[in-house]
Subunit: 530 residues, 2 copies
């Protein structure tokens, strides 16, 4: 099991004028300087069509492979990633400015996760194999089959975690589906290089031609969504981008698994608030991690009034240096979003509003961009100003968060659970047995996918029990997850065959259980012999 | 395990002028005579609002009950249905004209299914309970929680199978969700009586107030779809009705699980065709069962040319008496659909078209309705006229089907798999080892949810391995099923808690496994001690 960090907004779905998507190329920029270093051409429509045909041909071949075979393919990808670590981290650094330590960690986690999805496939529970007699000589058998080619839209903020490689690609391949990735324009040169490594590793491991491909450019992405060959779309990014994809794919019923940026809450209980400095340090560390470009970023912290949490957060923020955002567009969006938050916080409560921060934010919004570096920010907001539809609750991608100091824990919890659902919430308690914690966790589970107790939401383990997706609109299909063993389930569907002969069945249901998978026989779940 | 028959079109979603939905009541008609016998008033908006509030209150109470507790509730419902069999069958007969034998069988299957969903809940696999260490002292736990109140839209054609009682209601209650049913206007008096029995049984079994309610009327149904309290919608019926619901619910992201009428194919292999009389008898029996008002009705049979299948089907049809359809609207729709099919078949091939049938159908479309009785029909169509978008492939609800005699099996299979996906397909083979069967089954699994080998599609078992839903647009969410153990999965979603104390966890994950359910511990699936 490995820890990875979760994805966030800016999807590359919407053309970004200053990224040159109108010129038939994705230019490569260094966020630390704003300078361009080369570019990558967009994939021509006829080339996309050829890629789609190959993926469809590969789909039926892959569908016949054993999970253990695909486990081998995924291991080969992981091996190649590890073997090219230095090159990849350098290239990613040039295009994302995320820093070598973060990138080295993300790449290592990606390799571990890639292996994990292979193990999940090989374990075989995802196949849902089941068979029984249904009266007389009749039998009924059911198992999950891969959907077919999957289109993956890469995220800007996780060059290794979500895109050309990472959770969506590995879980789709593990489930038996060919993958076509649409590169995010924030790191085009890295995307091309990663795709070369993946395609080469798959080829050497024996995967069929068409198992994997990369396309570049906005129009190529749309072509994927509209293509009859594509059976599912995976996306991590902004709500706007995700909803646009959902709407476009709805006409032909293709599932879009979009996990989207929302404002993730943190609830600090009465008993926990004593150590405001430590909480502030953890909170600031989490919402400024990766320059705040995580869709699991904690965006709104509720803490008891009188504990001085907001002051502690402000003090801590002073120690956080500016950091470059991923693209000029994201940096501009952050400055505009910050100004809007400052105005909303001010309008909400002129006494509580942080005038200094407002002025800085307002200035920042009009300053010319030098590289894409920005300062982190926090705003104090009143409980009564937090309501569905408030501008305070629009996700601002970058290192900014809100703090709400509550007088009444029950009222704060009521407010919190009426806000838009989100991917994740954290609860900071006074320790085991905190009398408030059970009720708080229970309430929050109604509006999020995951509750992290005494942990910050930005740490996301790739393991059997992870749930990354939250209720709509944090996730386009409630119950889906892009991280953890459940990720494979997005790319399969159950089929049943009545009165099947062995030749009609998945090997998962052959009498001798050659894949050694759990099966339900006549209603009784059975495990393979140890 | 029981056999039940699957649902079909006409949903009561669209107001049906001659059913009086504009007058604030659902009138009750006898389809055998067309005469009205009483009516049932629509539920007032403020009453619907009160029902929604109670359901929301009940949701958190039910979410805390054990699966075994809900198994008891479902058993109480089944007992009450059995105890009132004579009354219910009589009432259903008056409003549906389906005949006492069919209705007695459907009610018995409904009772058995209701018990089955309780057993599925108690078995506990649906909970997906899982927990593991994720490094250091950290743990991660995941399980499925009920979504909350579920709105069920009853079907016209299964008064006991899909609606006020039946698959959707029992699987939602089994999964821990309160249910609000929108009655189908085809059987309003039966709906009210059934709801009384269900509510009473639940009350006596100790279920909380708000666990179950019925609403009547088109506007009440819309109010459910739009209500914040409703977390999922289940529907079986026509594609038009289902898609309207999907579109309406999309704005707030509520999942609609619609299983919709499509043209289900039958493929007869070369080796199977020898016994054309037996195949014709089975086919006619299946597509005229319940007057053809099944969404699993076989609508299009492919058979080798030269075996005389169409002639055998025509001959067999002569032995099938007219049968009343469920409502005046369905009868009118059938006559219009028949005329359209006759015209399309004629336009497609004037030599092959059955002019006699066309004339009859054309006359029927303009005849006044005497009761709702109609004659069964079959049309011969050419392979080359079957293409996506052809009028021949629009579902015609009622006892009509198409026959296509093919020269080339591979070409026929290619055509078949390019048509709209459907819920189910049948394959009639020459017996074990038929050389064509494996390829045919494999191809068909790409476009349906279930393949029945040497069995007709209208027989649907309620068991662990049933898959009733097919790929979109046969089902709004591919992979969902309204029949079989998987039906519970529609009404739950996974949540994860990091570093949970026992008080934060479902009992499914308490150390002593009090519910005795399968669990995944540190990645390893474990079964409760026998």
């Amino acid at each position: 099991m490995s820890e990875t960090d979760a994805p966030a907004a800016d999807t590359g779905l919407a053309p970004d004028a200053d990224q040159g998507t109108d010129q038939g190329v994705d230019p490569s920029y260094d966020p630390r300087t704003g300078e361009q270093h080369g570019s990558v051409p967009h994939t021509a429509p006829e080339h996309v069509a050829e890629i789609l045909r190959r993926a469809e041909d590969a789909a039926s071949v892959i569908a016949d492979t054993s999970p253990a075979t695909r486990e081998g393919w995924l291991a080969a990808i992981a091996d190649s990633l590890r073997a090219h670590e230095d090159e990849l981290v350098r290239l990613a650094g040039e295009e994302t400015g995320l820093g070598a330590d973060r990138l080295r960690g993300e790449l290592a986690k990606c390799a571990t996760s890639t292996v994990f999805y292979g193990a999940v496939a090989a374990e075989g529970s995802y196949l849902g194999a089941s068979t029984e007699g249904i009266g007389g000589d009749s039998t009924l058998s059911r198992w999950n089959i891969p959907l077919g080619p999957v289109a993956v839209f890469g995220a800007s903020n996780f060059p290794f975690g979500f895109g050309v490689i990472g959770h969506d690609v590995a879980s789709a391949l593990g489930a038996g589906c060919p993958v076509i990735v649409k590169a995010h324009p924030a790191h085009p040169r890295l995307s091309v290089r990663l795709a070369e490594l993946v395609a080469d590793a798959l080829d050497r491991a024996g995967a069929p031609v068409g198992s994997y491909a990369l396309v570049v450019g906005f129009d190529a992405g749309l072509q994927l969504v509209d293509a009859a060959e594509v059976t599912a779309v995976a996306f991590t990014g902004s709500q706007g981008g995700g909803m646009a994809l959902v709407a476009r794919a709805a006409a032909r019923g293709v599932p879009v698994f979009a996990e989207m940026g929302t404002v993730n809450p943190v609830f600090v209980t009465t008993d926990a608030a004593a150590d405001s400095a430590q909480i502030a340090a953890g909170f600031v560390g989490s919402f400024t991690l990766g320059a705040g470009q995580f869709c699991t970023k904690p965006g709104l912290l509720f803490a008891p009034a009188g504990a001085g949490i907001f002051d502690a957060v402000r003090a801590r923020l002073g120690q956080v240096p500016p950091a470059p955002l991923l693209t000029a567009g994201i940096a501009r969006g952050y400055r505009v979003g910050l100004a809007a938050l400052a105005e909303a916080a001010h309008a909400a409560d002129s006494a509580a509003a942080d005038t200094e921060a407002q002025t800085a934010a307002a200035n920042a919004a009009t300053e010319p961009v030098h590289g894409y570096a920005v300062d982190p920010q926090a705003f104090l907001v009143r409980l009564e100003d937090l309501h569905p539809g408030s501008r305070l609750l629009e996700e601002c991608f970058g290192p900014v968060a809100l703090v709400c100091e509550y007088e009444d824990a029950a009222g704060a919890l009521d407010t919190l659970t009426r806000l838009q659902p989100s991917l994740v919430a954290s609860v900071i308690t006074g320790g085991p047995g905190d009398p408030e914690s059970a009720a708080v966790v229970r309430r929050l589970l109604g509006t999020v996918g995951r509750v992290a107790l005494n942990a910050w939401p930005t740490g996301v383990a790739t393991s059997w029990s992870m749930q990354h997706g939250g209720p709509w609109p944090a996730t386009s299909r409630s119950g889906a997850t892009s991280v953890g063993a459940g990720a494979l389930g997005r790319f399969v569907r159950p089929v049943a065959v009545q009165n099947a002969e062995p030749a009609h069945l998945s090997a998962a249901l052959h009498p001798d259980n050659p894949w050694r998978v759990p099966r339900r026989i006549d209603g009784r779940l059975t495990l393979p012999a140890a």
